[in-house]
Symmetry: C3
Subunit: 364 residues, 3 copies
């Protein structure tokens, strides 16, 4: 169930986000929006000179901006400028204000009689377990956690306090989902890792037991239909505050450092290590056992086949450092022309050679 | 439950598809198949000179083809040629005839007692809601819509008349699925978009509420395990008649124009715009805020980082126009040879330089 | 429910895997692990000279290795060497020993009263059907098969003996899942293939009925959230012993030969044929109607647009033979330098031309 929060004054919003009001503190704000989409009653944000025209044209009643941007709002010829809340980080302030108007929905605690909670499972009385949700033997569900319909929590798995598991989420046996984690619909935690030993005599791929688990640390969010495999032995780990987009694949025994960001359809093969705060662009892939350094920024569709140094930017498949990739890519686009120039040179050199030979024979 | 339609005469089929019979109008047809796979009693189609031999060899009892292809069927030495239905578009005619033999299954209307329909939800008496399907508060399900087991329809969401939601489909709160839309198993509509503002003080990614919705317009089909994110504000829109293959990711606020086609594993980042009738090849990716023009054709695995002009073909990552890509790609394959030629040239030029220098010193 | 197997002696383990004990046959082993992670009581494996140091340093109580590696274990100065089991294939032996310590869990047979088994379905008394699992009309579930909660088995589909279907698996109507197959959570078998004929008059994509099925042969494993489409007509086939990783897309009418391996996020378009024992790296894509030969090895992120010869290695998008790709890729990285060298040559040649021209005019 979603709260329907009422309008707020500029002063109330400024108090929430720790900003300073310019203009009418009693101005009533009813919602947030982008500069271009905002209407009267909305508050928008400005943090980039690219949007200076949009700032001038916006219908928003107030704007979140940095102190240095205030002159942009000055009224013309005696008219008062637009109201504002001055903040250090307008984008973060926008996120916080948006949360005021769109708070996380709250759900009545309790276990729906049409849910199944197996023997020995511990569901906190403050948790919500909806119809058709399934909680396995000896599993634990913390206070304030929410299991939507068709969620599966396997034997001995733990769902931390305040975690939000949307419909169709599967957490297989003995995995842990940390406090406040959000698993979008269809996320699979703890599917078997992909490990087989070829049996030449039996002409088959012999399955290596995937006896480990997955640890999803607190404040992680994982997007729709992503899959995090359990470890062969030990644990696959998704570090605190990591954000994973939709349809991402994380192999067995992968370690993702805190605050890393994996964009849509990223794939990480077994035992790779992703450093803290690294950002992997959409559809990028990382080979097994590779180490991606902390704060690496990886362009979309990159393919990582060897370790990457921390703090650097990479692109391409296989990856190069970003600057090198861009230089190479620009040069490559000229290769048809290069080939023509080489042909021209060959002709000229041949001509020179024959002329010189003629000259030499003459001067002998 | 699937109808088991009986055999049809050629005349009956011609009536359905608006074609003209050549040969025995009472010929009985029992099924459709490709030229190579067809057996006696089947009807096949021919629309491409590449399959001329297959047409000659086919065991099909009749063929769908264009008027201009009729001479290919002429009987030899007095024998009568194969029966045919002459149509303007044999492939479309094949699709229609196939629908005669494989009609969409029909389902008995009604709500299975083992389904859950929450208070205030409106399920049309002509809709089918199977066991373990869940319809949330204030949701609406139209006449003839079918919810398979384990489907989830969230609060205030709407499923249009005749829509078909296969097992495991999740439609989160306040989204709309249009009339006649087909969602294959595991499709997720309305998962949260991927939006965070970095909070340097708290060392966390602050979640930006994803308060918008998804509008899936009529006649859309979406493939297994694809995910369409809800908008941050406003709506992510999948236009009328769009067809999306399996495991496709569509980010928040994306707008996909009518009749566009997204092949398997395509990924579209937030706020991108895909023009009407555009065709995106498998595993292609589109960066956020980019505009792909109407009727663009994008090759598989392409990576779109900037706007693309309507009606053109593109390939590569980052994309180039198709012709340019092919030219570059051909030239690139010769680069090892180019390098060798440049080395040879360097040697020859050096030789020329020294010979010329010797000559000049002599002639001085 | 998981068995908790007790410790084993080295002799017992050697008997299971057909190896030969070196050292104390009564040594008690409690688990398996990698050389680096193992502790006292564990058995580890050694099969690669890269890990020679790890072998020296390991805390494992015993090691699985080849006869030729035995000298590496020799004790120093009178001390006895580490215990070992000598085997032909240490990695396969490791897999087998791991299975001793981590046996596949067993489940009590029977149909949970909170499951739904529709009329005419045949569920073997030795099968396990858990709460919220759904078995459609006329479906068959074999002895020892396990359907976890929220599994869907459609009308007339068959699940073979001993098959394991994890939560959220969907097997649509008339498909077959072979004996001992393992479907990880969220797998979709038999979603409609992606086939439409453009109807220019109706300005719509006319759906071509996908009336075929999927045959998943025995001993196949398919990873979380992968999707195997049903054929248009006939059957999509996943051959015996094929192993498919997570989030893989297999289009309609694809034929995957026995023992092939498809790594994470691979995509295979309609009617492609993958040869026996082929290995497709992560995120690789195969175009429709293409044939990939038996035992082909395809690098990650490759894009296959034409047939590939059996037994060879390929890389790139579009693919080249591996050696050719590597040669091209190395040369391409030098293209910026090549362009500089060409510019230098052009300058030098121009200089040569003018000097020679001057000389020629002088000598005339």
């Amino acid at each position: 169930m979603r709260d329907e929060p009422g309008p707020k004054t500029l002063a109330e919003l400024a108090a929430v986000i720790g900003g300073e009001v310019r203009g009418d503190a009693d101005l009533v704000i009813r919602g947030v929006n982008g500069l271009a989409e905002a209407r009267a009653g909305d508050i928008a944000f400005y943090n980039n000179a690219r949007y200076r025209e949009a700032l001038k044209a916006t219908l928003a009643s107030a704007v979140l901006l940095e102190p240095t941007s205030l002159p942009l709002l000055e009224g013309k010829e005696g008219k008062e400028g637009k109201a504002a809340i001055v903040v250090a980080d307008p984008y973060l302030a926008f996120a916080r204000v948006s949360t005021v108007f769109h708070p996380r929905p709250r759900f009545a605690p309790g276990i729906d009689p049409r849910a199944v909670v197996e023997a020995g499972a511990q569901v906190d009385p403050g948790a919500t377990v909806m119809a058709f949700a399934y909680v396995g033997r000896l599993a634990k569900v913390g206070a304030g956690a929410v299991l939507f319909p068709q969620v599966f929590v396997g034997e001995q798995s733990e769902v931390g306090p305040g975690a939000l598991l949307y419909p169709g989420v599967v957490v297989r046996e003995r995995c842990r989902v940390g406090e406040g984690a959000i698993l979008q619909p269809g996320v699979v935690i703890g599917g078997d890792g992909f490990g087989f030993a070829f049996d030449a005599a039996g002409m088959s791929h012999f399955k290596i037991p995937q006896a480990g688990t997955v640890e999803v640390e607190p404040d992680v969010e994982i997007g729709s239909n992503s899959a995090i495999d359990r470890a062969t032995l030990g644990a696959t780990r998704i570090g605190r505050g990591v954000k994973i987009d939709n349809i991402v694949q994380v192999g067995h025994n992968v370690q993702v450092g805190p605050l890393a960001i994996l964009c849509g359809q990223v794939g990480i093969a077994g035992s790779a290590v992703i450093g803290a705060g690294a950002v992997l662009g959409g559809q990028a892939g990382v080979a097994n056992h590779v180490k991606v350094g902390s704060r690496v920024r990886l362009a979309a569709q990159s393919g990582v086949m060897g370790d990457l140094d921390e703090g650097r930017e990479y692109m391409g498949s296989p990856t190069q450092e970003l600057r090198e990739f861009l230089r190479t890519h620009a040069a490559v686009k000229k290769v048809p022309e290069t080939n023509r120039r080489v042909r021209t040179l060959e002709r000229k050199v041949e001509e020179l050679e024959s002329k010189l030979a003629a000259l030499l024979s003459k001067t002998k």
